[in-house]
Symmetry: C2
């Protein structure tokens, strides 16, 4: 068996593993992202994770390393991330002393590539992972679309409520300020989105109100996306997609209500779930592997 080492570096958690060519994940492991410790500590934590995954197992070493990271990223540099505060970190800084090819990629785009390669796919689809933040992978005519400068898919910063809640990006009323996992947790005073969903199911009034606002904000953003790009389907991924029908049932109803004169596209949860990012990091690694 041959595999690559892959890590999906999220705002809260790093997911790592060894990924075979067909997308199967072995030795999956989660570690916390030490975001509070500053940019260097995050880079160091990724490097330690890479070193552990790069060790030979049964005499076999990974062929390459694939890292999916947030922010602005090229195959060779993590150029900028507001979440981690890093600037122009070269790929080898994440794997010092590991003599393997290292490929970087954008976390959401990598997850979108995994959806295209291993998921249910579709030619005209918005793939929207909702985790600590929200960003989208815009799939048009069967391929990821990056826009004129590679910045397409910033769905999380659509101004759904002009002059509404403050967002980490410096603007107001962004979708992410209402509907990201980070936002719903903060607005409920709970540690994470998982706890919010549990509180919603238990009928907690505050959680129900926050969830309601989140779903309506999502419906507004998805109505806009639908009007502009007429997708066949919207596929929700990331941690928040694990809320299942607690999210999907009211979201479908509210999206339809916001699209009076046309049918809403199908809205479903990703079949890859939270694994998509790690599978996408694996694809990055495979693209960098010798002979690939």
């Amino acid at each position: 068996m041959t595999y690559v080492a892959a890590i999906d570096v999220g705002g809260t958690t790093m997911k790592g593993g060894l990924v075979t060519r067909d997308g199967t994940i072995h030795h999956a492991e989660r570690r916390p992202t030490p975001r509070a410790g500053g940019p260097e500590e995050v880079v160091g934590a990724v490097a330690a994770f890479v070193a552990d995954l790069a060790r030979p197992r049964d005499g076999v070493r990974p062929l390459a390393v694939g890292l999916a990271v947030p922010g602005l990223v090229t195959p060779t540099h993590a150029v900028f991330s507001a979440a981690f505060g890093w600037r122009d970190v070269p790929a080898h800084a994440f794997a010092p002393g590991v003599r393997l090819p290292v490929a970087l990629g954008h976390d959401v785009r990598a997850a979108g590539e995994a959806e295209l390669a291993y998921g249910e796919g579709g030619r005209d689809v918005l793939y929207l992972p909702i985790g600590t933040g929200i960003a989208g992978a815009v799939v048009l005519s069967g391929a990821l679309y990056g826009g004129a400068g590679g910045w397409a898919g910033q769905v999380g910063h659509i101004p759904v409520r002009p002059d509404g809640a403050a967002c980490g990006c410096g603007q107001r009323g962004c979708l992410a300020a209402y509907a990201s996992g980070g936002a719903v947790a903060a607005r409920c005073g709970l540690p994470g989105a998982e706890e919010v969903v549990r509180a919603v199911l238990a009928g907690d009034a505050r959680a129900v109100a926050v969830w309601d606002e989140a779903v309506e904000a999502l419906a507004l953003a998805l109505a806009t996306y639908t009007l502009v790009l007429d997708p066949a389907a919207i596929v929700i991924g990331g941690g928040v997609s694990q809320a299942g029908d607690t999210l999907l049932v009211p979201l479908r109803a509210r999206l339809s209500a916001r699209l009076g004169f046309r049918q809403a596209p199908e809205v479903r949860a990703s079949s890859l779930g939270a694994r998509a990012g790690l599978m996408g990091a694996g694809l990055l690694g495979w693209r960098a592997a010798p002979g690939a």
Copy 2:
């Protein structure tokens, strides 16, 4: 000289002419669209216009007829238009007794095709004609993008002010309810957008306030479009684009203000201006001409 007969059927005005292969317009003529008279009267007015344009001049007859119409449209049928109330009107109904090929096309998409063929173009551009209503032609990687079902580009119904002003489409808070030529005129109690621009320039308080709201609504919609699709340029067309700097200068400033963490794309008026629709109707005609 060979030419086709072309008509751009707008909500207020029909623009007709004879269009040569290179997009040059001869014998341009405007007639009012008798919208208040109901769907049959509009079809009859188009048919009379077609008959006049189809007459031989200096012994030369047009090779074909191209008609750009609003709503849902196929090359052979005007399927549906909320503006005109028509349903499934076959192409030949617009040209009875005229023995020429007749091609129908969507007005905004036809104008977008003209921008691509004759305008300054660009690979990743939103072409946004603002006339009686607002719709967009989404140009991605150098081609018009229609979406999964041909409904892409409904920029005029982006919900910029959730639960705001009522729109003709039945929803609330749509861009078109604030920024279309029809909306600014109605909100000022003036006959058309041209009069509104004159009142703005004269410092009329009501017109200034309405214009201000229109520009802010446009900035919100264009910020959203930019975040999702990262265009290189946004090209404003239609009658309202003739406001020039009265529109463009505040719009650029407000769009930049709504895009704190990234640069705004270039925003400019179409170099084709209000001719784009007629030139697009000409392209439709040329595509239907014998030997084309």
